[in-house]
Amino acid sequence: MSTVEIERVYDLIAEGVDKAGPDKGELFLAKLSLALANLVGDCEQVANAVLAAGRDL
């Protein structure tokens, strides 16, 4: 992704979390994860992303 695109994605997701409201942020992110995994369409890439996201929390 280009810098412009990743900045756009960053803002979209942040806005999405805020719009979901204080109690629904986690649910929103879970849905987004599933939707994006479906768009990626490759189990192994998703598995790698899960590992990456789990580091340094």
Binding site: E26, L27, A30, L34
Partner: protein
């Protein structure tokens, strides 16, 4: 969501009949059968066995006695006395969470569907299932709050309050009467071995399966379909006791498959962790607007199992020559032949093996005729089924003739002329060929009885 179903099946999926009816029919059948004696009011106290026999110590109101048997089939349910006496441990897991099932008698005007509510207001974070049974009975099934005991859940006032809340939820505040209620929990547990010397465990005595997907008695029936013919063959001297190893192999594998599938359903219906609950809620939320996760909502129900690894199967190379049809280890598939006339009615009721031969316009070949005739020399029953022939052409060797004018049976079985299927008494395929030799069929029959 519609449960998938085949137009060739006699019954639609989701057919419901209560346990007390099944028990009544079974007891009535037993009463007519000279080989069966039911001894009510007797309790097994101890089990011991030698290589030659099993001894059960039995308690009765008149005193104790020893019952000596060649074989003991333990079909004594989830709390199996025999399993406990033999100290057999099951493997797998139990899921936290208790559920109430309550049957109520009431008139409700809703379609005959399975209703599932997740997280209703009166039972937050828990599920409720509602569906129709025969005779104006409705089954209500709901998860209890964590930590609540069975005694508390079944207290009449609390139970009534919750049932009323369910009826309120579906807008059916009618009068109702409680038929029965019980508490259960979800498990995916099985013994690793169903055969212990001369004691054979079956049904819930052998495994505890999750309730999601109607697995309990359905799996018990499957177990018994597998075990019964094999045990009969051993008793009649038609097969060595070794054949019973195939029972444990086939049915433990089935139990493990059910635990795997049932485990998935259980994690969806009663999520055991925050992560599983979050993803479950994500899928539910999506179900209102997106199609892609709908397979995760799949109501995984009881289904026949494929015994593709069975030691009773043979000629895998011949099996691989087919693209479709019914493969090694799979159960026969039904075909609708006419009004109230199905393939499995024509061949399902005979106790024995079946050789299913497919013929073309030129009729039964000499080769197939010889094979069918030779099979009558086996010490155990083998029935000849000829598909695609007219009655006179197959006379003398066919016990069942299916004219199959529309070619629907040969279509479903990929039965080009010359094709032969060897079918076990439990209607699972154990060999099939495009062009068998007599020698191969004889070998397959030997293999099928663990010779």
């Amino acid at each position: 969501m519609i449960m998938p179903h085949d137009a060739d099946d006699r019954y639609l999926p989701g057919l419901n009949i209560q346990q007390q009816y099944i028990e009544e029919y079974l007891v009535n059948y037993c009463k007519q059968e000279d080989l069966i004696e039911i001894r009510w009011g007797q309790k097994v106290l101890a089990v011991s066995q030698t290589e030659a026999s099993v001894t059960l110590r039995v308690d009765t109101p008149e005193g104790e006695y020893d019952l000596i048997a060649d074989w003991v089939v333990a079909a004594d349910g989830g709390r199996s006395t025999i399993r406990k006496l033999m100290q057999l441990r099951m493997e797998g897991r139990s899921y936290p969470g208790n559920f109430v099932i309550a049957d109520i008698k009431t008139k409700i005007n809703l379609p005959t569907e399975r209703l599932c509510f997740f997280d209703p207001a009166w039972n937050p974070g828990n599920n409720v299932l509602v569906h129709r049974q025969p005779d104006d009975l409705w089954r209500i099934d709901f998860r209890l709050p964590d930590g609540e005991t069975a005694e508390r859940a079944l207290e009449p006032e609390l139970l009534h309050e919750r049932i009323n809340a369910v009826l309120e939820m579906i807008n059916q505040r009618n009068d109702w009467q409680l038929d029965w209620a019980t508490v259960y929990s979800a498990n995916t547990l099985t013994l690793a071995e169903f055969v212990h010397g001369r004691v054979l465990l079956t049904g819930d005595a052998a495994h505890l399966l999750p309730i999601f997907g109607v697995r309990g008695v359905n799996t018990g029936f499957q177990d018994c379909n597998d075990l019964a013919w094999k045990l009969a063959f051993v008793v009649n001297g038609w097969a060595r006791p070794l054949i019973l190893q195939s029972y444990t192999q086939e049915r433990v594998q089935a139990a493990r498959e059910i635990c795997e599938e049932g485990g998935k359903s259980t994690r969806f219906m009663t999520p055991p962790s925050r992560g599983t609950r979050l993803l479950r809620d994500a899928v539910l939320s999506f179900s209102l607007s997106e199609d892609f996760p709908k397979d995760l909502l799949h109501w995984r129900t009881s289904r026949p199992h494929d015994y593709h690894n069975s030691p009773l199967n043979s000629f895998p190379d011949a099996d691989r020559k087919f693209d479709g049809g019914v493969a090694l280890g799979q159960p026969l598939r039904n075909v609708k032949l006419g009004v109230n006339d199905y393939l499995l009615d024509r061949i399902g009721s005979r106790a024995g093996f079946h050789l299913m031969a497919f013929v073309g316009e030129s009729g039964l070949t000499a080769n197939l005729r010889e094979i069918l005739a030779a099979s009558k020399n086996e010490p155990f029953p083998v029935f000849g089924v000829v598909v695609g022939a007219s009655a006179p052409a197959a006379a003398g060797v066919a016990d069942v003739i299916i004219t199959d004018e529309e070619g629907r049976v040969s279509g479903k079985y990929e039965g080009a002329p010359g094709t032969l299927y060897l079918v076990r008494p439990d209607l699972h395929v154990c060999a099939r060929w495009r062009q068998p030799t007599a020698e191969q069929v004889t070998q397959a029959l030997r293999r099928a009885v663990a010779h």
